[in-house]
């Protein structure tokens, strides 16, 4: 079923990002095409350096000024690539909220919590001081900060890491975003706090109907919490599709190895943890082979000669770029949840 254009919140087509470096040009994003429908959740997974955060930066217009970007990004129908910087900044700033990895570093330690929460609404909507205070307190309540009114005037260092991340979420919600991007938002938190924050995000999304992107290297964050998943490797999209389909029948060797590498509590205690040997690819050169081939157990000469393209790997738009898709279904993700 072809998605109706007016419901597409984010539409990325053939996005490339090159960054000049002293050693040569880095190919950080290669031919990325993705869509996110209004009110849906997309998980972007991959190892560190796969290009997940760079993709978010490219969407938000936060990539280095030296970066060369080609391709098209449309947000709710507006083409934001090539848009004058100030216009793009205001458009996205007023409609997209981002929650980053490290809440302690992401909050301004010198400012009180409340004004930081309402800041985006003050800047983009010009609300009054009293309105800002009310808004901040109601948002702090909404993200589960106890005694929100008295927390309004406290400083970030007076809160725990989990509370700070709740405050960051509240500050991202101030503009009632159409899209919320959680960029490794739970990575720096305790496991129990991680779950609380993920649950909170899920509840907030259900309440507001905003679209959400979960960027993570943790498959457990994505499984069961996202509608779709996009797997990135070496600055490329190697697999994309409905989360359930991707986890149950991965269409790419890399995805399967990634799922197999998730430790399971059900596994015998002496079972060795699975890892993927080797290093992610050097991004200096635009390669013509499968980027995963050097680390792939199923690789054949074909893999190092021809770049596999994203091709249908199942129903509902499940696609993978693999010459030798895994036949065996991957283990279920019990342990990852």
């Amino acid at each position: 079923m072809a998605p109706q254009p007016q419901h597409t919140l984010l539409d990325i087509r053939n996005l490339h990002l090159r960054l000049p470096s002293p050693k040569g040009e880095l190919h950080l994003l290669n031919d990325i095409s993705l869509t996110l429908e209004r009110g849906r959740t997309l998980g972007i997974v991959g190892e560190s350096g796969a290009g997940k955060s760079m993709l978010i930066r490219a969407i938000m217009g936060l990539a280095s000024r030296k970066a060369r970007i080609s391709g098209e990004i449309r947000f709710d129908g507006d083409t934001i690539t090539g848009m004058p910087e100030a216009r793009r900044r205001r458009l996205l700033g007023a409609r997209v909220g981002v929650v980053f990895q490290n809440p302690t570093a992401s909050l301004n330690a010198f400012e009180r919590v409340g004004p930081q929460v309402s800041e985006a609404a003050r800047v983009h909507r010009g609300i009054s001081a009293e309105e800002a205070r009310e808004l901040a307190i109601s948002l702090l309540e909404r993200v589960g900060i106890p005694d929100a009114a008295s927390c309004h005037d406290r400083y970030p260092h007076e809160f725990s890491g989990g509370m700070k991340q709740r405050i960051m979420i509240a500050s991202a919600l101030a503009i009632e975003p159409d899209l919320l991007i959680a960029d490794e938002a739970t990575t720096a938190l305790d496991v129990t706090v991680q779950k609380e924050i993920l649950d909170l995000l899920q509840i907030l999304q259900a309440e507001t109907g905003m679209g959400m992107i979960q960027v993570t290297h943790n498959l457990g964050v994505v499984a069961g919490r996202t509608d779709e998943v996009a797997v990135m490797y070496g600055g490329r999209l190697v697999e994309t599709g409905p989360t359930r389909a991707v986890f149950e029948a991965p269409g790419h060797q890399y995805t399967q190895r990634l799922i197999a590498a998730v430790p399971s509590l059900q596994a015998p205690i002496d079972q060795e943890l699975v890892s993927i040997p080797g290093q992610p690819p050097d991004r200096l050169i635009g390669i013509r082979a499968c980027p995963f081939a050097p680390r792939c157990a199923a690789a054949t000469p074909l893999c190092s000669e021809t770049m596999p393209v994203l091709a249908p790997a199942g129903d509902d738009g499940h696609k993978a770029a693999c010459h030798h898709p895994p036949r065996v279904p991957a283990q279920t993700l019990e342990g990852a949840r």
């Binding site: 938000m60 936060l62 100030a86 007023a94 985006a120």
Partner: protein, 321 residues
Amino acid sequence: MHSSATPYLKALGTRLLAGIPVLLLVTFAATALSDLMAGSAAQAILGEFATPEQIAQLNAAYGYDLPAWQRYLRWLGNALQGDLGHTLYSQQPVAQVLFDRALVTFEIAFAAMIFSLAVAVPLALAMAARAGGRLDSALRFAASAMLAVPTFVSVVVLSLLFSIFLRWLPATGWVPFFDDPLGNLRHLILPVMCLSVHQVAYFFRVARNEFLATLQQDFIASARAKGFSTRYILWHHVLRPSLPQVLTVMGLSMTYLLGGSFIVESFFAIPGIGWTVLSAVQDHDLAMVQAILVLTVLIFVLVFALVDLGYALIDPRVEVK
């Protein structure tokens, strides 16, 4: 930040008390050092044709022949009662003279500090936004060049330009503010400019680098993701977190401003403490030298205490103790 000022006053008090040992050490050392002067103090003051009777008389009056510790205790006892002695030749109370001279130096140092900050900090903010650009590189080069110019060169060059060639400003002298505010301003400009050559360059470099470091912080990335303009981010998110570093440099630059006042005041014949201490040393006016030392130590203890308190005012994570 606490709503009440009491913890700050308490903290200020503790820091000032902690300065007392330093004060005693420095003043005692100064007393002892005068023993190193060639010949006796009385001989130096009265000149080579003084008779032994005259010398004995002076020693009896001032105790120049006593051992250092006795002279020191005598001075300390008087000082604690508010008596810093009299100037050697004009026999005015040292405290009164010092107060008048210190006002002059403070006015110049304060004006130089304000002027330098007012020029350097906004410039540094603007350049941090376009770091690596042509204007930024040019200003960094200019700042390095300005830092390399010794004050005794800048006084000559600037007075040559503004007093001799352009004839805009008086070359020497001083008019107190309350006698003639405009005249005071005209006499103030050149000394302040001379002191500011260094200060502007120094503050610019430190502030620019600090602003750049702050711009790399994660909370700046979240501010950018919220779609705020660079100008907004600089004023609302970069300035305050960078201030502790600037404050440290302000404290340190007091040493430069006081040291620089010696050169500037003697060059422009301005009756401040820099000029006073030079003539007091030449005249062997020991009471005056001692009093200026006390004042200098007090200034430094106070400045560093204020810097400490400033950290607590700027950064909510710093508690006053």
